[in-house]
Symmetry: D2
Subunit: 497 residues, 4 copies
């Protein structure tokens, strides 16, 4: 199977298993037509062998998408041209089985469902890998203390484990949605001109059921030409993927900032390895560099490509996977809005609103799928720099624990006095650059008040220990991991949406 | 209970049971604070009686929303001001139970969930009423033949029953989503400053569970400060309501057009009744008119208000309920997009993206709820003019059945000849204004060819009977009604969404 | 020049002059690189001949977009791969002029501006043609009376001229916006890694100006890497195109409804001509039909393709151009929202928000351009059926003029009495099916009251003449046409947008 | 004038001069009605004194918005109820001047334009203040060197001046758009039932012009009931405000991060001052603290409220203004999408799409205005910590200048060798924590190669000076400031938008 041509921007936005290219759409439409021919044959409404014959002719590569596109200017969609071309390819009586009973919308909507099935399955697998990586991070960094941040300001400590557990919960919810959409919201579309299947007489509903079986899609109670919740539900499942991933990617770009540096993405890791290779003169990498250099003797100097590393800036290690996820995620809300707005469809076939769905539906499958594919890279390659986490906490000089110290003092002194003492000390600490501990324990008048209240230096120091102010972090990690594991034993699964 | 002040535009956009006014938000925040005080008391972390005392003080009417709004300019959200005001109201030791362990986000998010619960329940009830009306229409108009329309052009016949069955399927899917969101996606929010509940030491997770029980909300495995799929899922459930209703409302505005007139909305019905009253001189209505007239002797003439009837245009009967649903529905996609985009939240509390959710979340609850409330009016009051349906079909002169006649002829003559004969006849019919039947059976050369092929006039006439070209319409109505009934017996319910 | 491959859905959504295919993007990027090489040469920063050499190598067809897409997975965008490939193609010292001083964003943003220029110009030309057609309709149907409709209900009369004048005003406003965007909001992007052009030392600003001159784009005061109003403004100009066209297309689908039939689109006209050809046995068309028939002896019957005409339904004439415009227009709001949201960009280059612009920006150019191209077809081919307009008015039996009659009576009888008489009469007319005139003048007690008030039958009949109740329609047509003509004499142009 | 009740969330989202409350809408509708009465009087169509009488009655506080809201459930909008109530308040013949010739849409659309005028003017003034602050920052920090960042990674140096100059350019473009919308895109709406002003006979266009003059709004060539570009253009002007501000606010949240700390917002400054006050025992502040403490003896400890400072976390100084701007900005794209989508309006009055505009239009005025109001606070209060900027640069150990050193070496050694030397040195520097300078000049084999190439230590050190690698930063600041000043001399203004 040849590698998918993902196009100029495809390296970022067309990763993963969702193929929504013209070729994929065309094949899915042909699969729908072929399935119909087989269903008609099974129903006794087409000659024996028709189904196989149409199926054998229904190969996208044998059709000219550009030509179909041109014809659609006259017909309003590419199906009439496709039907004509397919009919010509099928010699003999089987031609009569082509498209019988169907309307263009039956073919395009069913094709959309076939593309959705593939995309949902691929995204589920990719997101499962990402969730496994998140679970691993949650578990292995259960005790990695770091500063928590609200409104981008340092607040009080958290653990990397509980952060990753939060990511895991989002990923699990997104996976559940993908599974539900796959299992419950796909359906064959087959209703003919106005949703009655009139041209099939009394056989319509039976052919619909057979078509559903041929394609492995659920058979809905009735056609859904202008009832578009299925389209919205598949799109929403993909939007939930990017909604679960966008905070993960956003946080990783923030944690990977040069000034924060608490995580390294795979790019960082690669860059670091390469930096090491340079430093230690690894022969292989140097050879590559030289080969490049010679090949471009008159051009710009260009290093061995590594993900996220601009050649001219050795200090940089761009978190490409996170950036790509954010780039995908930010395109999704608008597309989802288009699809929800397109639900307002007229009578038995919409004048425009249906047409407006085709490309956004493909785009949202593509972008959700790409984000899911990047997520595995991102989380699988994430390295937490625990030393840096600790250093950043230490550099805060105890101020993030002021709340904890206040609570300690309040038990002896009451809230207002406790607050006043700590606020005064914190202010001095901030102004002087001294650790809060030193201010509290070294300033005679403060130290005196504390001693008077029966608060010991050891108590103060314990209150200033970040590892002692993590509340229920451990329990939360455990709960998220347990919920994750429960999900994977579907027989016990509680409905969770 | 005083009637809700719904505001200047509220008659249209704030119907139904969802109250997302400032007063409702304030009460929900206070309910969250009160629930927390009770939970702390149960956990042994607050003095006996604290919970009751805080609960008694937590009455929205006793707080000044405008003042809280002003304070929030300094604090970034209204909770700190609310906590201060609530603390002041609570005398004695119970004050220590106010807001203990909580962050502002815990209160606002939990309040959002409480508002969501009310809104989801109200919308479910309203939509059930609308679905019942749709089921009734599907059932009683199973045999009402009307012209089907695609791209706003007449196509082939359908029944009103199968149209209403399609609406029913959408409504049922929307109700399922509301139920799922209500049962599976609500949750208490309680995590403190950074999601660890550190200030509660080892008691955090236990208080969280108790708070959930106090408020009747599910207890999530861990706080979800920056994992926002719950917000999105509730919003999506509401967006699915408007997505299910918008095609219904759109179609009713189209069917109610003066030139089509196949349905009358309640406004029509009222207008008709009033017209009759005028015509027949009903004393009461005339008295009302006169009373108005005298009261406004120098003003404009103004009739008794009836829904949708502009006083100056007796020919008009505006389908207000349908218009209101469309007005609600068209605001929803943009709001949903805002909420999905807001999922990209930083670290342990977002700088802006969280804040951006508050009003759109309330708006989407309000608009989805309003649309659901209008839907009962719309479908409950819908009258199908079966005579007009038949007349519109008859006026089409048989052209919508040309496809059926072609199929009949093709059995004897083959497709191409059949098509040519019918196309010729249809062209003549269109050009002359004669019914297709007359052209087919009266033109000697056509009549001759048909006779030669063994096609009888009775066969032609049967093929031209709309009631004979309805395909699986009846089966589809049955299937939709059965699916609707199955839904209502939850013990047998199959997962469907 | 080979015809553009517009793809499977391109017949609908990729018409017009905007080319935003991968090939077009690639060429625009290469044009930016070539322009830079020439600018560097002019600035004395690259060897003589470099500019020409790079320009000659910068031919998109010689590059492999798919390969560049694959490389971009490592680099985050396709430019580094493109630069490497281009450098390889340029032998000798000119290679040093490739990409010198530039960052990837400079190339992609400048390429976007080049694509925008082409798209804005093409859309302007297409929309001018549509506006000319609208002006022609406004002028030639200044006196064509038809029923006006509000909330899809018949109201009081309008002229087709004033309807078209309203369309014209919207089109003119959209054209103004396209011109402004073209003239004022395009700009070269050139800032290097962080917007300082540091690697060019003191020469940066000068090279920027030379690059702008080479490419024929304005030279902005400073780079705009994370100031994205230009992107938004171009996108908005296109969104205004679809916002001006969507009501036109919507109204035409409504007026073309089988039951209304006040306009025919080109499809209708074609269909009508074909129907006539069938009816009168035109040899050529019949031959075509037969040829088709024979070619598909075993297949489905398929008529000669004409725009909008499904083969099986001779009664249908789908308004494809209007449907296509609506299909384009409905995709635009979501894309615009994505671009506006993407303005939130970090520091000197955004992590995701910039990347999220690439495809939506291309899509909005493509869709706005397609809608503009369809608009010429739609308005150029529109035929107003004045007889049907008159017939629809007549069928309303005078009810739309009730307001006018009331005003007449009020002068003699006062508002309340006038209103009561007309309401009574209108109710009787509606109930009986009689024209309002007959009810008013034939019912003895009404006729008596009117006579008593000195109102003559001739006055009543005049008040019931639609042509006498058109208010300022004529003046409004004149004003819109004058504004349209003023626009086309730019020297006199007042700022209008 | 009483302070505006901005509601519970209003401190964040309802700042600035735009009042879009129910009361403001009601007054604007009444202003439109009053203006119409005066216009009718001037036109000789209403008795002398009518205009004054209606104007005196048109006081919003005398009407019951909630009651009007309830009535609108029957009428589809609040105007019929308002007209009835206003008519009742006006005794005598002036009552006949109320609403004469108008449709509800005329009143609501004109009211929207009046609200827009106020909002555009207020936002312009607020944004001018913000732009002045940005200009001041650009000018005074022209020489403040700081690290530039791309994809949130340190890259090469910039100046704070050029960063602020970029902000200024965006703000200026946004102000231009506000002015244009104010001057060119507002218009009175007056067309009567269907846009013909039929009920005013030949006087319609004249009354329209007089109404425009009374209200100080432009007089459009014809009514624009279903041509909605004006609504979109006003909304876009506001969306451009938030699009210009969102990157500013985003960057300030990033620069204010605890770990970066290159700027302090007013909150920081206040917090710092307070910390100092605590530290130095300022009597007044301590008194406040004590007063609070005593008042809340049993409650939680609560500090003097200062913007952005959570009482329990002395280390935090939340950038509230920036967060508020982001919170406003993120709601705008979805609202704009709703308004653009609502342009698809039917015939002479839309069934739903018009109604869907009312609240989003008000919301976008409100949010754009709030963001503009916050922007003055944000930029006016911004303090740049130049020492911290320098320290952050120094901490990077010269790596951001590696590109510059490479360029220096390339002149003597050619690109590939230069690149290799610097890459090796950078890798060692990163691995060892030594400054790049030390690695380059201290490592014998590197130092030897450099000496051999004639590169001196002084040259290396110069290349490593950030102040020497700023390219055209100064010119760009000058250009942006000049463009800003040119804008303020409107007589010389070139079209720029």
């Amino acid at each position: 199977m040849p590698e998918l041509d993902r196009g100029l921007f495809g390296g970022i936005f067309t990763r993963g298993g969702a193929d929504t290219s013209d070729a994929a759409w065309l094949q899915a439409m042909l699969d729908a037509e072929a399935g119909l021919a087989r269903a008609l044959e099974r129903a006794g409404l087409a000659p024996a062998g028709s189904g196989g014959e149409v199926t054998r002719a229904a190969i996208a590569a044998d059709f000219d998408a550009a030509e179909l596109g041109r014809i659609s200017t006259l017909t309003g969609n590419p199906v009439p041209g496709l039907v004509r071309a397919l009919t010509r390819k099928v010699a003999g009586p089987a031609a009569g089985a082509v498209h019988r009973g169907a309307a263009s919308q039956d073919i395009i909507d069913t094709a959309a469902m076939l593309l959705a099935r593939q995309a949902l399955e691929a995204a589920t697998a990719d997101l499962e890998a990402a969730a496994a990586a998140a679970a691993n991070l949650a578990s292995s960094h259960r005790g990695t203390v770091m500063i928590g941040r609200t409104l981008l300001q340092q607040a009080v400590p958290v653990t990397f484990g509980v952060v990753a557990a939060g990511w895991l919960a989002g990923l699990d919810a997104a996976i559940d949605g993908l599974r539900r959409a796959r299992e419950e919201r796909l359906a064959v579309q087959f209703g003919g001109a106005v949703g009655t299947l009139a041209s099939l007489g009394a056989d319509g509903a039976r052919v619909k059921a057979l078509l559903a079986r041929e394609l492995g899609l659920p058979d809905p109670p009735l056609p859904w030409h202008t009832e578009r919740l299925r389209i919205i539900d598949v799109a929403t499942a993909m939007a939930r993927v990017t909604a679960a991933l966008s905070p993960v990617a956003r946080n990783i770009t923030l944690l990977a900032q040069t000034e924060v540096a608490e995580v390294q993405t795979r790019a960082h890791a690669q860059a670091h390895a390469q930096v090491q290779a340079h430093a230690h003169g690894h022969a292989q990498v140097q050879a590559q560099v030289q080969a490049h250099g010679q090949a471009q003797a008159h051009g710009q100097a260009q290093a061995v490509p590594r993900r996220g590393a601009p050649s001219a800036m050795p200090n940089k290690a761009n978190p490409i996977a996170a950036v790509a996820i954010l780039g995908c995620a930010r395109q999704v809300p608008g597309l989802l809005a288009t699809l929800v707005a397109s639900a307002e469809q007229e009578h038995q076939r919409a004048a425009g609103a249906w047409h407006a769905e085709w490309q956004p539906f493909g785009d949202i499958l593509r972008l959700g799928g790409s984000a899911a594919a990047w997520a595995g890279d991102l989380l699988g390659g994430l390295q937490v720099d625990t030393a840096r986490c600790a250093a950043n906490l230490a550099a805060a000089g105890g101020l993030p624990l002021a709340e904890h110290v206040t609570a300690l003092l309040a038990t002896a002194l009451g809230g207002p006095q406790a607050h006043e003492i700590v606020a005064t000390a914190a202010a001095r600490a901030a102004a002087s650059g001294l650790p809060l501990r030193d201010v509290l324990l070294a300033a005679p008048e403060l130290e005196g008040r504390l001693r008077h209240a029966g608060i010991t230096a050891a108590q103060i120091e314990a209150a200033l220990d970040p590892a002692g102010y993590l509340g229920s972090s451990g329990e939360f990690v455990t709960a998220a991991l347990r919920a994750h594991e429960d999900r994977q034993a579907p027989q016990d699964r509680q409905p969770r949406w």
